[in-house]
């Protein structure tokens, strides 16, 4: 998956990559050429005492150095540009993809997981690309070039490269192999320690009430010790890494001097060549070590790439029609015809064979216990999910045939979890209708019983709303969400358990204020409480995903056992 993502998303930057590769090649060759020049300075300058030569060669050396750094810096420039652009494109692709998802796919991954994939996981892959472009790419070039140059200096010593490189690879590979699982374990145990701390801060009252401080401390102690143990283990391997690598390098130097000395003694080699050879060997070994170190990041990035790939390869289950119907206006007659919904791979359907009609000017309520499928049913109407069986129709037209924007413009939804967006009260209300005037907004707030507290806020409509709406109370959040739906003046209202955070009086006031506004609209209310829906025109009773009762409160009390059971359980809870 890593390869696939890289191939696909780096394609637009092929040109940059070619440029940066050639620049890195130039830079690396230049830096490889340097030892040769240094050797010349020693051989031809210092040994013969030719100062002029030293100056001249020194000048060339500086020129080469300059070429080297210009090459490297330009390469880094393009490398940073390409890898960051890669990250940007990848983020954009994921974001676009998720935008096309239906609630079903979002639910499958979970919003937090999608967020991590869109940010953190991309970051991991992006950094690997960046490091590859700026550092990793130099390793093979240095290795090949270094070997060629070293052999040019003296073929007789080149077998030393063949010995030193594998030794270094084996040693550093061995250490890294032992370290990587440790890192992973360290992460899990760090999470465990943090989890205990998180539980302790959130459960502080319970801990104190049960006098379990000591128990908690010992629980934490275990997690802490486990973390420390693995950290120490990893740290020991890390402590071994540096001296081991240095030792290999130093021993190689000694070997070069010894065997080089023999060859010089035999007159087969010049002293300058010895020095140059030494530099090349060190450069080669450094490149090898860099490459091995980089490899540590590959597994991590590839896990991230897999997670990204999962998102990119998921196809949205709700697809907008090619030529969607764009009707100017409808009456808002909503009909469900033998609707069923089942998750792929699930053994039981969430909804089965549901049929009912909700008429304009009427309130249709849906009741049932948790998990009966109430919210799912509601979500089928704006196509947050698509029914897997049967049809959802508005004025006789299947919702799947509408242009999505056209469909959504007919619907005002107040979700179970009232969610507000970062911005102001006004910007949140304008979500419902971008052109709403202040007057319209105040009007909607008034109906939603939110006028008072918005007026009390320091800046009124322009007061800040934090992400998710966490800076207002649950009840206030719910009322703002209701105002947001009202301002849209839709044909169909969907209230998903939307009055739950309101106290009895506000609830009553709100519902009576809603009445004139929703007089001509189709209103669907999901509720758990009988009291909320007792006066609805029609009540749909759901049980295990199927309709078990349909009628008014009074009718259902006599005809529907499940309904009377629910009513009774709420009464009995009172009376017990």
């Amino acid at each position: 998956m890593l390869i696939k993502i890289l191939r696909e998303h780096l394609r637009p930057y092929k040109k940059w990559i070619i440029i940066l590769s050639s620049l890195q090649l130039i830079g690396t060759i230049a830096s490889l050429y340097l030892p040769s020049l240094m050797a010349d300075i020693i051989d031809n300058g210092i040994v013969t005492g030719d100062t002029g030569y030293i100056m001249k060669t020194g000048g060339i050396m500086l020129g080469v150095t300059f070429v080297q750094i210009v090459g490297t810096i330009t390469a880094v420039y393009f490398g940073a540009k390409a890898s960051m652009a890669f990250g940007r494109d990848l983020r954009s692709s994921i974001f676009r993809k998720v935008g096309a998802f239906s609630s079903r796919e979002v639910g499958k991954f979970g919003a937090p997981s999608l967020i991590t994939r869109n940010t953190n996981d991309v970051y991991q892959v992006q950094m690997l690309v960046m490091m590859s472009f700026t550092m990793l790419i130099r390793a093979p070039i240095t290795m090949v070039g270094g070997i060629i140059m070293a052999m040019k200096e003296d073929v007789g010593l080149s077998w030393l490269v063949a010995v030193a490189v594998p030794v270094l690879v084996v040693i550093s590979g061995f250490i890294i192999k032992n370290m990587v699982p440790g890192f992973r374990k360290m992460q899990t145990r760090l999470d465990a320690v943090n989890k205990v701390l998180r539980e302790q801060t959130s459960g502080i009252r319970v801990i104190r009430a049960f006098v379990r401080e000591r128990f908690e401390t010992s629980r934490f102690g275990t997690a802490n010790t486990e973390l420390t143990d693995v950290s120490i283990n990893v740290g020991q391997w890390m402590a071994a890494m540096f001296p081991a690598v240095m030792l290999v390098m130093n021993l190689s130097t000694i070997a070069v001097l010894w065997f080089g000395g023999i060859r010089i003694g035999a007159g087969e080699m010049q002293i300058g060549a010895l020095v140059a050879f030494l530099s090349y060997l060190i450069q080669i070994l450094m490149a090898v070590m860099m490459a091995t170190l980089m490899l540590v990041f590959v597994p991590r990035a590839s896990v991230s790439a897999d997670r990204i790939g999962e998102v990119l390869e998921t196809e949205p289950s709700v697809v907008p029609p090619v030529h969607g119907i764009r009707e100017a206006s409808t009456t808002g007659v909503l009909e469900l015809r033998s609707v069923g919904f089942q998750y792929a791979g699930a053994t039981h359907p969430v909804l089965r064979d549901i049929s009912f009609t909700a008429l304009p000017g009427q309130t249709t309520a849906i009741i049932g216990s948790t998990g009966a499928g109430k919210s799912t049913l509601l979500n089928l109407i704006p196509r947050l999910f698509d029914a897997t069986e049967g049809q959802v129709l508005i004025d006789g037209v299947d919702v799947r045939e509408f242009d999505p924007d056209n469909l959504w413009s007919r619907i005002g939804i107040v979700p179970q979890r009232a969610y507000l967006f970062t911005g102001t009260v006004a910007s949140n209300l304008r979500y419902g209708n971008p052109d709403a005037t202040d007057e319209e907004m105040w009007n909607a707030l008034e109906i939603a019983q939110a006028r008072d507290f918005v007026e009390d806020m320091p800046k009124g409509l322009e007061s800040n709303i934090a992400q998710g709406g966490t800076n207002v109370s649950g009840g206030q959040r719910q009322r703002l969400a209701i105002a947001r739906a009202l301002i849209r003046e839709p044909e169909i209202y969907l209230f998903d358990d939307s009055f739950s955070a309101l106290d009895v009086i506000t609830d009553a006031r709100l519902r009576s204020a809603l009445e004139p506004v929703t007089r001509d609209a189709t209103v669907l209310i999901v509720a758990q409480r009988v009291s909320t829906i007792a006066d609805a025109d029609r009540i749909v009773v759901l049980e295990d995903g199927a309709v078990v009762g349909l009628g008014t409160h009074d009718e259902l009390l006599t005809t529907c056992p499940t309904y009377s059971e629910i009513v009774e359980s709420q009464l009995r809870a009172e009376a017990s």
Partner: protein
């Protein structure tokens, strides 16, 4: 939880920033060049915090002494290395030169010969060398030198390892101790501290800051020490070889530093922009994905996508610049290094030619210059990391310095056979000095009585029961248990007598069994099962995958909110305390489960003194004593019949709300999907339209 009092979400925001920093900072290895990622935060008090951090190493000073000695020897040995290596080169070189002259010739003859040939410079050089004409390389001497080198390097490697090994121990144990201290501190802090600190902020200190600190220590300690030592030793060696060359090299240091500072300054500002952009983008993604369905239905997809693209582009610009500038350092340093090399080669070459320096020396010197620039750059790049680490340390220390709960009495009272007799004697308490909350409350509760507390949000109901637990200390008056002032009891003795069931259904990560046993750690399996049966936990446990061994936790969703609530009741049941405190709110449990919860609560209450923050008509009506609270005062108290007869505010409330039409008795509900603490938990709407978080205490049930 007290989230509504949070002004404008700033704590949440700042926490987010922190998280994005963590994303950028990277968790694993290879933090090095990315150290700039943490520049967002800076220490305000670098000196004191750093010193205090060092003081924490004191228990390990034995190891530290060994580490320092090992490091000094190891660095010295590696520093001598090039010099010895240079000597080896000299042997090879003089052997090579020696072979150029016939054997039997004296050195002087060779020099003279060169002079007559006009090769003055070589002659001069030769005269300073240890050359025996005609003799090739002295392999015995070379072997000896190289063997010495092997020994030197091996010993240095071993010592470096030893130093790293011990240092790792020191760092890890220091961190471990610090973590324990932090955890310990959590248990000693007064609840007030938890109320006033936003939870995210506190959590960030105990997790993110601790992690950052430990990473910084791990990464910098060993490197900084080795680097500084290396700089010192290499300088000594360089001066030993040649003052002139050493001074030339030293001159390059300020240049390097200046350039490094410049470039890092630039990349730092770009990094700051990068993290800011990352933060903005992340919260945008978070918002877009969390509000996914709303954005769709309200037709805002296009707009959201556009904003994202803009921010994404900005992040790209910023991170590109940041990465580019931070990668500049290495090549520039390399250039300065090479420049230095050429100067050294020219000057050194002249000196070798003039015979003042041997070829080996110049080679050794060149090696030293290479070893010199690297640690200098390293120290420079570590400054950022250190700064962010110390800033984290400062935040951790702040937590450790926070005022603790006053200690228990030296000679605490003991209660032998508690019956559950509680009385309040003119009790006053306020969270904030200028906001009265509980004012002059007095009441007496006889053993076995059920006390129902009713009143609007913010009336002080939860505070009242928290005072019984001694979660807070009183401002005036006293609360007694069996006639003994609870302030004279040890907190743990007091709390052991009280069982508490909160609406916040906190469970820890562990099995169902472990969570029930939390109420009584040494309970037998039979006792545990009995509690589970009495509280209807047993019923649903059998439908769980691993029965009582199923792992549950506070955040997980494998059991429902109602089931969680039953578990917390079972926990209190097992504890079997003489006194009970129940917060009855049954948040969004479906009605049939709720019935079970009610039964379980009733089972728990029987024969025990209990304080119930009541929402249920049945509980209220059957209570032995009803307290009606308004604005921190008990405005009425008595039995149901008495209060109805009195015709006061309870009677009004009862008439208008409690006995409403057929089914409208149930309290409004909050969705179970709502994360704990995020929603406003309604209590019975007795406050007549006061629904928002009115003049409430931070700890009041929100």
């Amino acid at each position: 939880m007290s989230t509504p009092t949070t002004p404008d979400g700033t704590p949440a925001g700042s926490k987010k920033m922190k998280e994005t920093e963590r994303i950028g900072g990277g968790r694993g290895p290879g933090h090095g060049p990315m150290g700039g990622g943490m520049v967002g935060q800076k220490s305000m008090n670098f000196g004191p915090s750093a010193r205090r951090l060092v003081r924490r190493l004191r228990p390990q000073r034995g190891k530290i002494a060994v580490i320092i000695v090992a490091a000094i020897i190891a660095v010295a040995m590696s520093a001598i290395g090039p010099k010895v290596l240079g000597h080896a080169t000299d042997i090879v070189f003089s052997g090579a030169v020696g072979k150029m002259f016939p054997a039997g010739m004296t050195k002087e003859q060779a020099v003279a010969g060169l002079r007559t040939a006009g090769q003055d410079k070589i002659a001069e050089m030769l005269s300073s060398m240890d050359v025996v004409p005609g003799q090739g390389i002295d392999f015995t001497a070379l072997r000896n030198v190289l063997l010495l080198l092997i020994g030197l390097y091996a010993a240095a490697a071993l010592l470096t390892f030893l130093q790293g090994y011990l240092l790792n121990d020191v760092v890890q144990y220091t961190i471990k101790d610090l973590r324990s201290d932090v955890e310990d501190k959590l248990n000693k802090l007064p609840l007030r501290y938890f109320d006033t600190q936003p939870r995210g902020e506190l959590l960030s200190r105990v997790t993110n800051d601790m992690d950052n600190l430990s990473q910084t220590l791990q990464q910098t300690m060993s490197q900084v020490m080795t680097s500084v030592l290396t700089i010192v030793f290499v300088m000594v060696m360089m001066f030993d070889i040649s003052w002139t060359l050493a001074l030339i090299t030293l001159a390059s240091v300020p240049i390097s530093m200046f350039v490094a500072a410049k470039v890092m300054g630039r990349s730092r500002t770009h990094f700051i922009t990068q993290w800011r952009s990352t933060g903005v983008l992340n919260s945008q993604v978070e918002e877009a994905f969390t509000g996914h369905s709303l954005i769709k239905v309200f037709g805002r997809q296009q707009e959201v996508q556009e904003t994202f693209e803009t921010e994404n582009e900005e992040l790209y610009e910023a991170s590109f610049m940041a990465q580019f500038f931070s990668s500049l350092i290495m090549p520039i340093m390399l250039f300065i290094g090479n420049l230095n090399y050429v100067v050294i080669a020219v000057v050194g070459g002249l000196r070798v030619a003039s015979g003042t320096l041997s070829l080996g020396d110049i080679q050794a010197f060149i090696q030293y210059t290479r070893r010199f620039t690297q640690p200098v750059t390293q120290v420079a790049s570590m400054v950022n990391l250190l700064q962010s680490g110390v800033a984290s340390a400062e935040r951790v220390f702040e937590l450790l310095d926070a005022e603790e709960e006053p200690p228990d009495e030296h000679q605490p009272q003991l209660i032998e056979n508690p019956t559950g007799q509680v009385s309040f004697d003119d009790v006053s308490f306020r969270y904030e000095e200028d906001r009265p909350l509980i004012e002059h409350v007095s009441l007496a509760v006889e053993p076995g009585q059920t006390v129902a507390i009713v009143g609007p949000t913010g009336a002080g109901k939860t505070t009242l029961v928290n005072l019984v637990m001694r979660f807070y200390d009183l401002d005036a008056g006293r609360i007694t248990l069996e006639g003994v002032d609870i302030a004279e009891l040890r907190r743990q003795d007091l709390r052991s007598e009280i069982g508490m069931v909160l609406q916040d259904t906190w469970l820890f990560q562990g099995t169902v069994r472990e969570n029930i046993m939390y109420g009584k750690l040494d309970a037998t399996e039979e006792e545990m099962l009995e509690a589970a049966r009495a509280t209807f936990v047993d019923r649903f446990v059998h439908s769980l995958p691993d029965g009582y061994d199923t792992v549950v936790d506070d955040e997980g969703n494998n059991i429902s909110a109602g089931e969680k609530q039953l578990l917390t009741i079972a926990r209190a049941f097992l504890a079997n305390p003489p006194l009970l405190i129940l917060d009855e709110a049954t948040s969004s449990v479906d009605t049939r489960t709720e019935l079970l919860v009610q039964h379980a609560m009733a089972a728990l209450r029987s024969d025990r003194t209990s304080f119930v923050i009541a929402h249920r008509l049945s509980t209220i009506r059957d209570a032995d004593l009803i307290l009606v609270m308004e604005e921190g005062q008990i405005v009425e108290q008595g039995t149901h019949d008495e209060l109805i007869a009195a015709g006061g505010s309870y009677a009004t409330l009862y008439a208008t709300q409690l006995s409403g039409p057929d089914v409208a008795l149930a309290p409004p509900q909050v969705s179970s999907r709502q994360p704990a603490g995020a929603g406003g938990m309604p209590t019975m709407g007795m406050g007549r339209g006061r629904s928002g978080p009115a003049a409430g205490s931070p700890a009041e049930d929100d």
